[in-house]
Structure formats: C-alpha cells, structure tokens
Amino acid sequence: MQFMLLFSRQGKLRLQKWYVPLSDKEKKKITRELVQTVLARKPKMCSFLEWRDLKIVYKRYASLYFCCAIEDQDNELITLEIIHRYVELLDKYFGSVCELDIIFNFEKAYFILDEFLLGGEAQETSKKNVLKAIEQADLLQEVRPAPLKP
C-alpha cells in the first residue's frame, strides 16, 4: 500500500498515513485530487478505480471514506478487507465508533493503524492480538489508567 486517507463527505481529511516518501507539496496535491475524484463517484459504482499509475480502493462507512492507494500488482479485494478489518478494530476499541471518535482521538486511530499495518502491509491479522497490543500500550500510559471496555 502506498498511502491511506480517511476523509469526510465534505472532503475534510481525518487521517492520512503515507508509506512512500513524498514531499509535502506532493502529498497535498495528491490528497486534493484524489478526494475530488472519489467524492465524484456515484454510490453504485465499483470500489476500484485507476488513478495516475496506481489503483485506488475505497469504501464508505457512514460519513467517512476510507481510501487506499495500492500498486498495480497488489490485490484489490484483500485491500478492501484490510479496510474492513481496520474499521472492525476501531469499532471494537471505541465501541460503536463514529467519525467524532476519530476526530477527537486521532492519535489513537494512528496507533491502532500502526499495530495493524506496517510499511503498508498487514502485519497482524488476528483481531484479538491487535486489540491486546493496544490495550497493553494503554496500560503503559501512567497518568490515569482508564477502565478498559471489554
């Protein structure tokens, strides 16, 4: 995977994770163009499209678009499932996750993503293990041990 973007229906970026080195200017340009392209798609259209020399896989969950850019030889369907797995993780962690959760706890969203994806590839595919790792990390935060939801 080259990058993942999360953005709202109004085009506001909620999360951006880049797995390739690009300058700030390029990132901004890519984000702008891609967001426009994806938002222009109609609901019944398929989840894949070609953009520049990359394949884009996207899915909308409620008010958030999850959009990944993969290379030509990568598998699109598995990427869709990566997106889904990530949403499941967020859901389990925040409990019925919604966009606001991601806005206010953006750093947690990043941490969960990092536990799951490494260098653009899924590193831990067991949901249980990922969540366990996150919980352990939370324990390490000593200011106020928070009650962990089951």
């Binding site: 797995y19 019944k44 398929c46 699109e76 598995i78 953006f106 590839e121 590193q123 595919t125 200011v143």
Partner: protein, 841 residues
C-alpha cells in the same frame, strides 16, 4: 457523544479540538489556530523547560493542526526530544509526529536515527516495536541492511502466525530486489500455503476471517511466489499445483456466509491464485480453469467482481494457452461495454477487447470500439483512438477497410487523432497502389460533409494532391471540383493545414493544367502573397513562381502517365515539394522580372527587347497557346528549348513549326530545328530544341513560325526569336591598365560608337548592373575614376572570328540621361551592340 480518550486524557487537546469544531467560519478557524500556534511557539521558546506531558500535548496539537491542512514549520525538534523520553506515551507521540511530518533537515535525521538505534538496542520490546514501526514507515538506507537479516531468520524459525505475515511482506519486497538471495523461501512458502489451504476450520482459529483461513497470509504467500518462476523440483511443483487446484475448487463450493466480507476474502485469495497461474503460464489445465472461473465472474452481480474479472482476463488473453478460451467470452465483454454504468468497468472492457483481438474477430471488435468511441469519456478518447488505429493496421486483411476505419476515426474523434495516426494512413496509402483510388474517392466523399474535422482536411488535401488524378475522369470529381472542395475549407483551417493545402494546389497545377489559371489566381491574391505567416507567404510566392515556368522538369509531358512525376515519396518528403528537380539549369527566372507584365500578343516586339538581357521566360501567349523559352549559350553555339503549352481542353492537331531567316541573316546564323510531334493534347506541353550557331556577327533575328489546327480552324503564329549578337558574349575580366591600353588601341573612328539617350526607366544602379551582366559583359570595378560610371568588357564569339568589346556607360541622374560608348574592332559589332544595349535603359 465522544468518549473521553482512554489513557492519559490530554484535556487541553480535547478542548482545542472542540474549539476548532465550534468555529463558525474558516476565518474564525484560522484565527483560533494562529492563536494556538503562537501560544505553542512561545511555550517552546520559553525559559521554563517543559515537562514531558506538556511537550507531548503541544506536539499532539501541532499534529492535529497539520492534519487539518495547515503547514507546520516548527516543533520537529521538540518531537525528536520526545523520542529520548523514557515514557512510552511520550515516545509514541514523538514517533507519530516524525513519521507524519517527515523533515529533510539533516541534523534532525541524525538525531532521529540515533534515537531509533538506541530504542532498538534497548531490551524493552515495546520501545523496539516503536522503533521498528518508524523504520518501516519512514525508511532510511542505513536501517535496511540490518533489517534484512533479522527478518529472514525470524521468519524461518517462527511459529507465530502473526509474525510470519509481517515477515512475508518484507521477504517479498526484498525478493523483488534480489531474487537469488531468497530462493529457499519458495519451498517454505508452498509448504505454508498448502497447510493453510487444506486446514480444517478449527485450526488457525484466530486467523480465520469470516470463515476464510488466513486470507492475508495466503495472499502474501501467493505474491511471494510470483517473484519466482515455477519451481523446478517436480514434487514441489505438483504440491503447488494441488494447492492452486484446491483454491479453484473452493471457489465452486457454496459460500459459508452471506456476508460480503467472506466472499471478498475468499475471492481475494482466488484472484491472487489466478494471478500466480497466469504468471507461471505453464499448466494449460489451470489456465483454462482460471479462464472459466473468470468467465463466471464476468456476469456476477457485484460490480467489483466484474471489474476484477475483466482486469484478470486481460492478462490471460496474452497467454497462448488461454487466448482461445478468452475469445469465447467476446459477446459478454461487448455487452459489458454497452451496458455497464461504471466508466472504470467499461474501460477494463475496452482493454480486454484490445487484448483479445486477432485476425478472426478484428472487424467486429474494431466496429464495437468505434461505436463506443462516439459516446466515450473525453479523458479516454485518445487512448481508444490509438488502440483502434493499431488494431486496424495490425489485422487489416484488405486496406480499404483500414482506410475506412481511420477516416471514421477522424470523423468521430478528430481532435484526439494524433499526428502519428494520420501520417501512418498516408504512408500506407502511398505504399499500397491498389488502395490509392479508393482512398481518393473516399476522402473526396468525406470532404463533402458540411463540417469536416481539420485532420480530415489534412489527409484529404494530401491524398487528393497525390492521387486526385485517379478520380479526375469522373465529372463529379473533376479537378476543378476537387480544387473548389479543398479551397472551400481553406479559410477554416489553421496555418499548418493551409500550408499543406498550398502544396496540394501546386500538385494540382502539376497534374491538371486546366485548373492552373484558377489556382494561380488564388496564389496571386494578396491574402496569400502578403500573408502574415512567413511559411504561407513563402510557399505562395514560390509555388506561383514555379507554376509560371513552363518546364518539362516539373510539368508532365503528354506522353507520361498523368501522375505526379515524383516516385513514392519518402516520409520526410511528405509535405514538401523536395521533389522539385534540381537537374538542368536553374528554373527560376531572375527575381527582378515582375509578373505584372503580360506576355505580348503577336506582332509586338516588346518581348524581343525583354530578352536581350535574359535567357528564360515566356515569349508569347494568347488564349490558346503559351510559348516559353529556355536558352543556353557557349562561345558561338547556343541551344534554345521552346515549350509550347496547350491552354485549351482540345487537342492541337497538325502542329508544325519552322524557323526562317531573311537572306542577310541566313549565312550569318545557323538555326537547326528538331522535329516535333504533330499533336499536342489538351492541357499538355510540347518541347522543341533549336540548335544555334553563330557564323559571323548579325543584326537581324530569325522568326519562328507556328501552325496548328484547333477545333477545325487553322492557327498561324509568328514570333521573333530572341537570338541577338550579345548572346554570344563571353565576359572578360581585365585590369584597369589593360583596359585603358586596349581602349586606346580601339581609337579609330569606325571602331567606336557612341550614343546619348534619355533614360526610359528609373535610373537605378543595381538594376543597371544586373542588365549589363545579363547583356553578357564582365563589369570592371575601379577602372573608371568616376564610381558612378560602368565599365565592361567581353568577347563576341563567332565561327569565323572573335571580336573584343569594351564599353562604358555614363549615367547622368540629374538630366535622366545616359552616354553609352562602345569600342570594338568591328564596326558592325559596335553598332549592333550599342543599338541593343541602349534600348535597355
């Protein structure tokens, strides 16, 4: 309702985020952000050292601001500082910041590297984790080497499924760079894959995703295997084939769950397996099965699957084993092209049609693509045009179909037909004799349409220019009609097209003399000759000039076929008339002759005078006939090429010529006339050669008599042949000393002839010089003390004698008069030369 963030709270951050969200306008948001930025800046610069918690909070705020889309130009240092903290959360935020806001500041990179190294070296696994993450996501060259070794070892001996997944990704990337190092991984990969694929649903519990066993790992293993050719070891190969067959079998089984995630995961593995089968391209059985499976997906309910099926089939089509199998689905694909609502799916369908095209289905596929082109998205038109052009050329059985297809292309999507495409069609038409007539006819008909694309005008102009004669016999496409058709589009076209059309016009003049006059009028019009564009102006002027020279070198004689005299044009010749022959003497008349002088009618001697100082031109013209001349002289011999042009559309019959000299002239000048054909076709030209020999000096001129029958009436024309004594001049250079010496020697009164006369034309030095040179003398500089005077010397060659001549021309601009002095050794020569020359000024 947002939950309070677990862990450490960071109240300040939550408040800040709420503030931003409550901002009513963009300006308010920017104001709030700037306020916060100023606050953070002052805190970072402040005297009081910040504690870890505050640093973390502020760095986090900066990160949030960055995510909103604002640029952050400070804070990197503080983030790097966080890296060296012992607290996990602070480290975490630090790493997060630098992985999102990568900075190319070299100092910082060094510090970051140090921090990473320290964390890796520490025994703390969580710290190592963070560091590894950072390397993986940010990447830097120094880390790569070490990582390679660690990961490979981990992979081989790991039992933990999770680690295997991660390590497999790394191995795959590394294997792509240096496949030989990781050859052994193939065996392990196959082993693992077969374990997964054949596992019962209770194993790998944690890693089963919606009833599919370890889909991510399976996909990764299959990807890894695509880095390598099919295994050589037979046992390994059969094991792998078994695996793949199992996967294909599973696809046929009824689904274990209705959820789309299940089917997606299952199909993800399936598609990756098919990709591997295609990559290996070695088991026909598997390939055909894969093709059939994809065929099912082509009509699946889910758009995603149809899209992927089309995409995979594209690669399948290029394999020889499955090419035929792919072709069986052509109807489905064409249907998809017509009915799919998603443009990306339609694009895949186009790509697949292109890949599966071969001789058996080319006509059908090209027809479908053309009809798709009419309604296609503008962004993809150029690609489709190119594809259609390539297919049409590659699989054309007969070239008429090819020509039709390209012309259709231009009609439908002219703007997207790049130059290569229409250059190519012209190249093919030129090289295929049998399609030239068809091309001319089709292009002619296509141009009749009220609105033509400019590319069609270009192609049409070129083809009609070259091959218009093939359809000129039909009155509906006579030369004049063709010319009018092309010219009607002239004003609508851009400069390069107009240039091409001008070239086509000169080709028309070449092929069809009957439209010559019309075309010349067009060329002569101010809009061409004074056109603002240099290229057009130059072409108009030069073509007009060329067309006025009657010469068989460019004009076709009546005996050759009515084709352009140039052989098949090389490609760089395509739009130029480089075929203008350079053989023979220069064709261009001296530039100073202006076109506004009409050729004289019979009886006038004006033409004769005009030819004293020049050798080429038209000496006679009337409604029916044009006579042009080209002459060369050497010493006492001369040769004249006479060109008789039939300006009418009827033949000239019983054509005959003769040259007569009066009694005085006959012994002085020998004129030998070569015989000519008695027939001149309509619009054709006849050439006759006259050989001249100067026996002694003369002052009369021979007369050319022409007789022919035109439409029943007999025509009789006489023209004075412009052969004068000065034609046999040889210019002689000499020093001033020599000149004066000879001048003195020729001092006898009968040797000198002088004439004072009024200037008839404007007195211009350059023109005078040109005339004197044209007369045949050598102009000597620095002889006459008065620089305004002209001094010349030459030798008249006759068979019997050679006569040296000296002349001096003194202009008097105030009085508009000249004094001309001729000194030669023979009185008659001096007389005649003076007579001839004085008329020129």
């Amino acid at each position: 309702m947002p939950t309070v963030s677990k862990g450490d709270g960071m109240r300040g951050l939550a408040v800040f985020i709420s503030d931003i969200r409550n901002c009513k306008s963009k300006e308010a948001e920017v104001k709030r952000i700037n306020k916060e930025l100023a606050n953070i800046r002052s805190k970072f610069k402040g005297d009081k050292a910040l504690d870890g918690y505050s640093k973390k909070k502020y760095v986090c705020k900066l990160l949030f601001i960055f995510l909103l889309g604002h640029d952050i130009d400070f804070g990197h240092m503080e983030a790097v500082n966080l890296l060296s903290s012992n607290k996990y959360t602070e480290k975490q935020i630090g790493y997060l910041f630098i992985s999102v806001l990568v900075n190319s500041n070299s100092d910082l990179i060094r510090l970051i590297n140090n921090a990473i190294k320290n964390d890796l070296a520490s025994r703390n696994p969580t710290f190592m984790n963070l560091a590894l993450h950072c390397i993986a996501n940010v990447g830097s060259r120094e880390m790569a080497e070490a990582q390679k070794q660690i990961c490979f070892l981990t992979w081989i001996c790991s039992c933990f499924q999770g680690v295997v997944t991660a390590a497999t990704s790394l191995i795959t990337t590394l294997a792509q760079k240096s496949p030989d190092d990781f050859k052994t991984s193939v065996c392990l990969a196959v082993a693992r894959l077969s374990r997964i694929v054949t596992s019962a649903s209770l194993d790998l519990q944690d890693y089963t995703y919606y009833f599919v066993a370890a889909p991510w790992l399976s996909v990764k293993l299959l990807r890894l295997l695509q880095c390598y050719p099919p295994p050589e070891d037979a046992a390994l190969r059969s094991r792998l084939t078994e695996c793949l067959e199992t996967i294909l079998n599973k696809a046929q089984e009824p689904p274990k769950s209705k959820k789309v995630q299940h089917s997606n995961a299952k199909n993800a593995v399936l598609f990756e397996a098919i990709a591997l089968i295609i990559h290996h391209d070695s088991e026909p059985n598997l390939l055909v099965r894969a093709c059939n499976q994809l065929g099912h997906f082509l009509q699946h309910r889910e758009t995603n699957l149809r899209y992927l099926a089309l995409e995979s089939m594209c690669t399948l089509a290029s394999s020889e084993f499955s090419h035929e199998a792919v072709k069986t689905h052509i109807e489905t694909v064409i249907n998809a092209l017509k009915t799919e609502r998603d443009v990306s799916v339609r694009q895949r369908a186009v790509d697949l049609l292109y890949a599966m095209c071969d001789r058996s289905n080319s006509k059908q596929i090209v027809a479908e693509m053309l009809s798709y082109l009419e309604t296609a998205d503008y962004s993809i038109r150029e690609e489709i045009v190119l594809k259609v052009a390539i297919l049409a050329e590659k699989y054309a059985v007969d070239y008429t179909w090819y020509v039709d297809t390209i012309l259709n292309l231009i009609r439908i999507a002219g703007d997207y037909v790049s130059e290569e495409v229409w250059y190519r069609v012209i190249q093919i038409v030129i090289n295929q004799d049998d399609v030239q007539g068809y091309a001319a006819k089709t292009v002619f008909e296509a141009l009749q349409a009220p609105a033509c694309h400019e590319n069609l005008v270009k192609v049409g102009g070129y083809i009609l220019g070259e091959f218009g004669n093939l359809i000129a016999g039909d009155p509906r496409s006579s030369p004049l009609v063709q010319f009018n058709l092309l010219h009607s589009k002239f004003h609508l076209c851009s400069v390069p097209t107009r240039a091409l059309l001008l070239s086509a016009y000169i080709k028309f003049i070449n092929l069809f003399p009957e439209v010559k006059g019309t075309i010349q009028d067009v060329l002569r019009s101010d809009s061409q000759l004074r056109n603002a564009d240099v290229e057009l102006q130059q072409r108009a002027v030069e073509y007009l000039r060329l067309s006025c020279i009657a010469s068989t070198d460019i004009l076709v004689s009546k005996n050759s076929a009515k084709r352009a005299s140039s052989p098949s044009l090389g490609f760089n010749d395509a739009l130029n008339l480089n075929s203008t022959p350079s053989s023979g003497a220069s064709l261009l008349v001296d530039v100073f002759t202006d076109l506004s002088n009409p050729a004289p009618t019979e009886g006038s001697d004006e033409h004769f005078t005009r030819f004293v100082c020049k050798n080429n031109g038209v000496i006679y013209e009337n409604q029916l006939l044009q006579i042009g001349l080209k002459s060369e002289y050497r010493q006492n011999l001369g040769r004249i090429y006479v060109f008789y042009g039939n300006k009418t559309s009827t033949q000239f019959l019983s054509f005959s010529t003769s040259v007569t000299s009066n009694d005085l002239l006959t012994p002085q000048l020998n004129v030998q006339v070569k015989p000519v054909d008695p027939l001149i076709e309509a619009g054709a030209q006849l050439q006759q050669i006259l050989n001249i020999e100067c026996v002694s000096d003369f002052s009369e001129a021979p007369v050319l008599n022409i007789q022919f029958r035109y439409g029943g009436t007999l025509q009789n024309i006489t023209v004075k042949l412009p052969v004068m004594l000065n034609k046999f001049f040889q210019p002689t250079e000499m020093t001033s000393q020599d000149f004066f010496q000879r001048w003195k020697q020729l001092g006898a009164p009968q040797q000198e002839v002088q004439k004072i006369f009024k200037a008839k034309n404007q007195m211009d030095t350059d023109v005078a010089k040109a005339k004197l040179l044209g007369f045949g003398v050598a102009l000597l500089d620095g002889v006459d003390p008065n620089p305004a005077n002209f001094v010349g010397a030459g030798i008249i060659h006759t068979k019997t004698t050679q006569v040296g001549c000296l002349l001096r021309l003194e202009p008097n601009t105030q009085a508009q008069m000249y004094r001309l002095t001729l000194r030669t050794s023979k009185e008659s020569v001096s007389q005649r030369l003076c007579e001839l020359l004085s008329e020129q000024f």
